[in-house]
Symmetry: C2
Subunit: 254 residues, 2 copies
DNA sequence: GCATAATGTACGGCGTGCCGAACATTTGGT
DNA sequence: ACCAAATGTTCGGCACGCCGTACATTATGC
């Protein structure tokens, strides 16, 4: 359900690949020096890793040349980055860990987490995010529990927060009253739940491949000037859709 | 707050130490063969690791002899085991992962998790366990969410479960109506929150060292025939207390 | 263009962790 | 007591992954 790409890379090589992926995102091509700096490793170590990655056909590598990812390499790198992000989001959004610490820990643990458990982490974060609009109060109960040493009582405060949440629960409308839409109409930062996927093109395939069916949470991450393309996060994956593709996906706003 | 013992062992050596710890728990002394079987590693690899551990004074080792842990070794092993258990408990109790998978994942990730985040995991599990008596319904909401694909609606069912929980919330009495007690009076499996630590002996010190103050959750894990000694879990640590020590710790049952 | 700096690579070395084969010791059955 | 099986150790070898040094190439300023 989750993976599809497995390459059995060492933790070290996964980190090199992830670093290249990030650098390419920023600068379109990576240079050994940047990789070394990012991973706190010497230039000669980078060369060694590049050979290993090139031999596995994960990067395009010629001595002294700029480094880019092959298609296979990008797929693997995206998988690593997804593990990183799912863990980090859990640490930040559920455990209320600071972004820096969360990133550091995620980058250590991403190499050890099995797919099935990663999926659970993702599900849990989504459960927390979707249940009530705008962030669950009961998860705020945890924040209260953490911060205020409210551990002697029987968690009155946290139950109170849950009650607040339930009382204030809306009927699932967006701020402006819309209750359903197509993915193409959603605005930056809005979240929704997939209701139907009408199209028949490659997108439908891609969505099904990653297990995104009706009920799956979608979040709009980026929108280009004229609303095309639109970047969404689904199941921890970042997906770029053309406007006409996005319009074929019916969602219910939450 | 959490650690106190850090030895900078490799993941591999931590696993050897943890294995020895477990085997000694079961059989009082470990033999190389059992270690190898447990870690799926050859006998010669075990010998190598034993040298490394002996050199760090973590095990008592003489060629051909039985293997035991030094005090330092036991302390480090307990720390590894705690990381393992905190993670496993989170996977099982919060993410609803099966025990086997949870153990396997925990044993991979235990080597990569920072102390601060481990503490958060522990806090989160305790938050879930303590909030309402007998396991939080809202965490059952997550189970429901996972199992039944209840993802299209706006989580009505899970809110319903939270409401149930809030309605049925009791005032914090034990099954037989007791509401407070000393740790010495608690029965197997009961949970409570520390209210006061009267003693002045080593226990007070030990509890404070691991950050257990008023408000800390306690669970009774084992009780010897005449209620002495009593084994409790506090902050992920397993603690064995004499009856007279336990009686000096006032708790509120939950 | 050319000197010089910046960057990249090759190589040898080190530490870790694993293995199998050969050898050593202990254990257990007779 | 003795022999065989079980168990433990040593040794050489391999794969990683890192480093520093020396050397090669490329970029940059003049
Ligand atoms: Mn990493
Ligand atoms: Mn990472
Ligand atoms: Mn482990
Ligand atoms: Mn473990």
């Amino acid at each position: 359900m989750s993976d599809s790409v497995q390459m059995d890379l060492s933790a070290s090589l996964e980190d090199y690949l992830e670093a290249i992926f990030r650098i390419v995102q920023e600068k379109s091509a990576a240079r050994a020096k940047d990789i070394g700096k990012r991973l706190k490793v010497s230039r000669s170590s980078v060369t060694g890793a590049l050979h290993a990655l090139a031999q596995r056909e994960l990067i395009n590598y010629a001595p002294y040349d700029l480094i880019t990812l092959t298609d296979k390499g990008r797929a693997v790198a995206e998988d690593v980055a997804r593990r990183h992000e799912v863990l980090r989001d859990f640490f930040v959004k559920v455990l209320a860990v600071g972004r820096e610490d969360a990133d550091e820990a995620a980058c250590k643990m991403e190499h050890a987490i099995p797919d099935a458990i990663l999926d659970r982490f993702l599900d849990f974060v989504e459960f927390v995010e979707r249940c009530p609009r705008g962030g669950s109060k009961w998860i705020k109960g945890f924040g209260y529990y953490c911060d205020n040493d409210n551990k002697t009582g029987n968690c009155e405060k946290c139950v109170e927060l849950v009650l607040d949440e339930v009382r204030s629960r809306t009927t699932g409308k967006a701020a402006d009253g819309r209750t359903s839409a197509s993915l193409g109409e959603m605005k930056l930062g809005e979240k929704g739940v997939i209701v139907r996927i009408s199209g028949t093109g490659g997108i439908r395939r891609r969505l099904l491949d990653m297990g995104a069916t009706a009920g799956t949470l979608v979040e709009v991450e980026r929108v280009a000037p004229f609303g095309d393309p639109i970047e969404v996060k689904i199941k921890g994956y970042h997906l770029t859709l053309r406007k006409d593709e996005a319009e074929r996906i019916a969602v219910k706003l939450i």
